[in-house]
Structure formats: structure tokens, C-alpha cells
Amino acid sequence: MELTRRNAMILGAGAIVATGLPLTAAAAAGDEEIAAFTGGAEIGSTGVTLTAPEIAENGNTVPIEVSAPGATAIMVLALGNPTPPVATFNFGPLAASQSASTRIRLAGTQDVVAIAKLADGSFARASSTVKVTIGGCGG
């Protein structure tokens, strides 16, 4: 519950996201990246799995995993970050599995999104809200 400068900065970001002020701009930026990735194609909801913690233990290094059997590429975005695109994983025809895990930095509570380009050329989307919190008062 005591504040440090670091926490104050994390909190500040969290509060802004929570009140929703800059989110429209950030979400629009994410939309642009997604449109570039999909070429504007319709996006389905099955075929890609995104695994992320509900509440980040450390917003600076949040473990996530994406998986989409048969996919040729998976794009990951953190919609609330100043720069939403995180990574795009491309899978060649010899890839044993179409999954990847990494750690990402989140500026505050936000939605993390994964878009997969599936084997048939269609696209699928999964998203997960990851909370970045100060915590401190567990039972």
C-alpha cells in the first residue's frame, strides 16, 4: 500500500486506462495493425488460443502463450500500450507446432489480442483482459 515512484507510474497508467480516456486512440491504432495483417478480411473466433494471466504478477514481464494449430502466422497486440503491436510469429511448413510463448510489457490494465492466420487463409481472434494492479491486501 505504500507508494514508490515506480508504482506511482504503473498506477497512473492503470488509472488512465480504467477511466478510458486514451483507450479509443489506442484501440484505433490496434485496429489499423489488425487490418494490415488481415487485409481487412472477416475475423472468426475459433482456432486460436491465447493464454495470459488474469492479473499480472509484474506488468513489466507478463508471460503469454499463443497457439493456433495449422496457422501460418499469429500476431499479438497489447491494445493499451503506447505501441500496440507486440510480435508476429510466422510458422513455416516444417514447423512442428504452431504455438509460441513470450513475455510482454503492459503499461496498465488492458486487453491482449492474438490474431491467427489459419491454414485455409481465414483469420481468428482471441483476447484476454490482463489486469495490472498494486495489490497488497490479500486474505
Partner: protein
């Protein structure tokens, strides 16, 4: 539906059936205790072929105590108005419990002081031992499972770094355990204690933080063969340990809910022939309910963390969820009929440990006394008296926390005090002495420094919003299971139906009656910071100084928080 209706009805409101219709007004202390017998409390027609015994959230309470259940425990989202978010008279109506009955006293709030004077103390691990021994007399191979929060919460536990609890629990011979506050002993000490345990230390969600792989010291599950049944017990530690508690004390470990990994573990044990899958959980009740609806194949969830005591299991699909209270106040017995690889029925009883009714186990009494003997003088020193009931449980405030906040305001010369919304800590009746042990029972922890700092009004608002969302986020997976941070010198309104950022309004500095200015700095005193390097005197010393100065403590009704959006 594999659980027959008949079996479901056999599940017990054991406690409420003890005395039938009675009102407390007709019962003096002697009459109440004569009417209750150990046999009534523990009577159970052994059922099926497997027995589970569940204890959880003991918080190092070795001796009998008073413990008032909450009068305010608000449910949100799908859990609005559902147990365990039903309290007091509403709870008694829901379960058909008579006012003034032993079950009223044990399970619900209302008339607590009068009932406590009549029925006496609850808990005590020597009484718990008696009940466990009796269940084992019925079913020698019953599984004893400890849901964690065992090695934390008392003077002796702090001084011995959990050794007193390990010694006493080992004598009870549990079969498995999972964890939460244990980790606040620091990872070196936790590792040392766990390596020496003669039973399984389970946690499918305890991971190595560096590699995000399951931690070797804490296996996800263990198999037991009991009554001819192959049983898998899976452990689930508290998911938000590094957030709700100081992660720097156990940096090698990561946690989280990890329900996809839970499903993998359930599938794995089923593939290995498990006929019964038991989840020993420290998720908290609403998280367990949600998980039961997502993960398939769990038969029984033994639920801990949120300290709820429910007289019958809650059914989600084909999973039963059992909640066994806290502070040594209850033992749950669950008998199961497992045939042809399936759970066909169950019988359940939440056994309240009435300390004056259940005979202590003499060997356990001696063992407990031996743990306490080196500290006897420090424990028993009387610091003051109270003319008010001191308790903690409730979403927004408790009189113990009001007292702690008063101590912080006066001893640390602050404008505003913050005290963590933890759910542990026994109650003290009006007229009782307050001993040093009593103060430690509500403050003991490895990061008890009472800090003094400055915060802007804006930041204070952010802090309150953040904690409120840990409690009132409509999705249980985003809740951390504690109560709202307690405030001293500060009033506010909270609309629990709003999203994070807009629940808290009308922040008021009580000493002037003025609205909190977002841009102005205020002096804040608090304790239990999760940040490394926090400085200040220990909270128990601050509270002791305050009580010693007052002599007799009186807590006036707290009207500083207005709750809306119910």
C-alpha cells in the same frame, strides 16, 4: 446427474439439527453447554467407501478463541445474493437455522456477544485432534487435507518461523497441504519446511518464475488408494500471492489461476486411472465456483482462502464445493460413495468446534503447550481492556481495524490511516483483557512495518479504486479474496456496481470535514506494504503502545463509508 437427490438431501445441516427449535433467551451458559454434547457435534452415519477431512485457514490459532462471522459480505456479478454472500438473519433463514441456536452462533453474525458468552470459545487444535481421531475411528483411512494459511498468524508462529504449526500439524498427520501465507516466511524458509514435511505439498499453479514451468518442490497432485478407490488430490495454491503479498519475499515462484493447466492435470490423473478427483484449493469460494464451471472432471473442491463456512456443499455441474471456515473453528467431513470409477453420492457435515463441548486430546494439548511454553510470559501480558466487541470480518470495516487505524493516526501522527482488509484475526468480547497475544493474532506477519508517507488525494483515490476492484470486479478470476482496505480519518462513498475508476466518490478528511483535494498531499500511515524496504516500527508495537495508553478501549460505531449499488 450422478448425485442422487436422496444423497444430496442427506448432506448436512448438521449443526442446525443439533438442538432444533430454541431461542437463546432460554439458555444460560450452563444450559447451553449441557444441551450440546460432543457426540451430537460429531455424530455421522459413515457412508460410502471414502472419507475426506478438510481443515483450512487455521492462521496458526492453536488455542480456543472467539470468532465473529461477517455481517457484510457482498457478492457481485453472478454471485450477487448467492452463498457465501448471504449473512446474518438472511443466512439463517436460507439454511433453516434457528435464532439463538449453536449453528447461529457458529455460522452467522448477530447477537454475537451474548451468544459467545453462552456458548463459549471455538476452535483449538487439541479439540480439532479429537474430532479427527473420532472420524478416523469410523474410517481409519480417511484423508486429512489442509487447505493452507496454516503457518501464519500468531506470536509463536512468527517467533518460530512457522515451526510451532509444523510440529502440531505433523502430529495430526495430514495427507496433503496447499499454500498461501506460508510463502511470506520467505522462500528459503518455505523450502526448508516443505522439504521436511512427511506429507505432500501440492500446487499445480506453483511455477518457477524464471522459466514459467511447474516448480519441482510442489507437485501438482498425489495419488492415494483408499477404500479400494484410486483418488487423485490436486493442489491449488492462492493464485495472487506475489500481488496480494510481497513477491520480493519469494521471487523464485510464480502462481496464477492457470485453469488450462488445471484441466491438463485433471485429464492426466483421469488417464492414469483416478476414480475420484479432489481439488484442495486456496482459490477462494467464488473463484472455485467459476473454475468448477470451466474445468471438467473434478468431483470435490475443498475450498479455502475466503474463510467462508457453509453448512452444505454448493453444487456446480457435477462438482461439489465444500467451504470449511477458518481459524480452527470448523472441520468438514465428506463421505463419498465411489463406484465404477464415479462419485455416486456424498454425505457432508461441517462440524463446529465448540471448545467447551469437545474434549481436548491430551497429547495434542501437551504438544501445543510445549510450543507456547518458551513464550508464556510475553503471550499472557495484559496490555489493556476493551469495553467493545473487537472483530475484523466484514467487507468494509471491523472494530479491530478501527482500533488499529486509531493507533496509526495517533502514534504515527497521520491525517489518514490505511489497514489491510485481511480476513484473519479472532474476536475479543467486551470486558475481556487484551493481551499481547491478542494483538499479535490480528497483526502478526513478516512485513508488519508501520510506514508513514505522503500521498496526493488523487493517488489515494487510485489506491482505493484498485483495492475495491480486487473485491468487486464482477469476474471472480479478477478478485483477490480479501476485503476492502480499512481507512481511518477518511470517509468515502462506494458504488460497488460501477467499474474500476468510478466506484469511489466523496472522499472526505474526517478531522476537518473537508473534501479530499486531488492535488494536495496528505500524511498517510499504514502497514503491511508489499514493497521491499518499507520502514517503520512494527504494527503490533504501535497498537500495543496505543492500547497501553488508553487503558480501556472503546470503539464507536463507524459510519465513514457509505455503500451503494447493492
Amino acid at each position: 446427474m450422478m448425485i442422487s437427490r436422496r444423497d444430496f438431501l442427506q448432506t448436512g445441516m448438521a449443526a442446525s439439527a443439533i438442538l432444533g427449535a430454541s431461542s437463546f433467551g432460554q439458555w444460560g451458559r450452563l444450559a447451553a453447554q449441557q444441551a450440546l454434547t460432543q457426540d451430537q457435534l460429531t455424530r455421522f452415519d459413515t457412508f460410502g467407501n471414502v472419507s475426506l477431512i478438510h481443515v483450512t485457514d487455521i492462521h496458526a490459532q492453536l488455542k480456543p478463541l472467539y470468532f465473529r462471522e461477517p455481517s457484510i459480505n457482498i457478492g457481485v456479478g453472478d454471485n450477487k445474493g448467492k452463498v457465501p454472500h448471504v449473512t446474518g438473519a438472511d443466512f439463517r433463514r436460507l439454511y433453516g437455522i434457528d435464532d439463538g441456536s449453536p449453528a447461529h452462533y457458529a455460522l452467522s453474525s448477530g447477537d454475537f456477544t451474548a451468544l459467545a458468552q453462552g456458548y463459549g470459545r471455538v476452535g483449538g487444535l487439541d479439540r480439532v485432534a479429537t474430532v479427527i481421531n473420532q472420524i478416523r475411528a469410523d474410517r481409519p483411512d480417511a484423508l486429512l487435507l489442509d487447505g493452507g494459511d496454516t503457518w501464519h498468524g500468531s506470536y509463536t508462529c512468527y517467533q518460530t518461523e512457522g515451526q510451532d504449526m509444523v510440529n502440531v500439524m505433523n502430529a495430526l498427520k495430514p495427507d496433503a497441504m496447499t499454500f498461501h501465507w506460508e510463502f511470506t516466511l520467505g522462500s528459503d524458509r518455505v523450502n526448508e519446511l516443505v522439504e521436511g514435511l512427511p506429507f505432500a505439498a501440492l500446487g499445480q499453479n506453483i511455477f518457477d518464475a524464471e522459466w514459467d514451468e511447474p516448480a519441482e518442490l510442489f507437485p501438482p497432485y498425489k495419488f492415494f488408494e483408499r477404500g479400494g478407490v484410486k483418488i487423485a488430490v490436486i493442489g491449488q495454491a492462492f493464485p495472487y500471492m506475489p500481488i496480494a503479498n510481497p513477491g520480493w519475499m519469494f521471487p523464485e515462484y510464480a502462481f496464477g489461476i492457470r485453469d488450462e493447466h488445471m484441466q491438463e492435470m485433471v485429464d492426466e490423473v483421469r488417464a492414469q486411472g483416478a476414480e475420484l478427483v479432489v481439488l484442495l484449493s486456496h482459490n477462494g469460494f467464488d473463484v472455485d465456483k467459476k473454475m468448477a464451471g470451466i474445468v471438467t472432471g473434478i468431483d470435490v473442491i475443498l475450498s479455502g482462502h475466503t474463510h467462508d463456512a457453509l453448512p452444505e456443499p454448493v453444487l456446480v455441474g457435477e462438482t461439489i464445493i465444500v467451504a470449511s471456515g477458518s481459524n480452527g473453528k470448523f472441520v468438514s467431513r465428506v463421505d463419498l460413495d465411489v463406484r465404477d470409477g464415479r462419485m455416486m453420492g456424498f454425505r457432508h457435515k461441517l462440524i463446529p468446534i465448540f471448545s467447551d463441548v469437545i474434549a481436548p486430546d491430551p497429547e495434542m494439548t501437551a504438544l501445543i503447550d510445549a510450543q507456547r511454553a518458551p513464550f508464556a510470559d510475553q503471550l499472557s501480558e495484559v496490555i489493556g481492556q476493551t469495553s467493545s466487541l473487537l472483530y475484523r470480518r466484514g467487507n468494509f470495516n471491523g472494530t479491530w481495524d478501527d482500533l488499529i487505524c486509531d493507533a496509526l493516526l495517533s502514534e504515527r501522527e497521520a491525517d489518514i490511516a490505511l489497514s489491510p482488509g485481511v480476513r484473519w484475526g479472532p474476536s475479543i468480547l467486551p470486558g475481556q483483557d487484551i493481551t499481547r497475544e491478542d494483538i499479535w493474532n490480528v497483526t502478526s506477519m513478516t512485513y508488519g512495518q508501520a510506514y508513514r508517507t505522503e500521498m496526493t488525494g488523487e493517488f489515494l483515490h487510485v489506491v482505493l479504486e484498485d483495492v475495491a476492484d480486487n473485491l468487486f470486479n464482477p469476474d471472480p478470476y479478477y478478485q483477490q479474496g480479501g476485503d476492502m482496505v480499512r481507512t481511518g480519518g477518511l470517509g468515502y462513498r462506494i458504488d460497488i456496481s460501477k467499474p474500476q475508476g468510478s466506484r469511489i466518490t466523496d472522499l472526505t478528511l474526517l478531522k476537518t470535514g473537508e473534501a479530499i483535494d486531488p492535488s494536495k498531499s496528505y500524511v498517510i500511515a499504514g502497514w503491511a506494504s508489499v514493497n521491499e524496504g518499507t520502514e517503520g516500527p512494527m504494527i503490533w508495537d504501535v497498537v500495543e503502545d496505543h492500547i497501553a495508553r488508553l487503558g480501556t478501549v472503546t470503539i464507536n460505531p463507524n459510519t465513514s463509508v457509505t455503500v451503494t449499488g447493492l
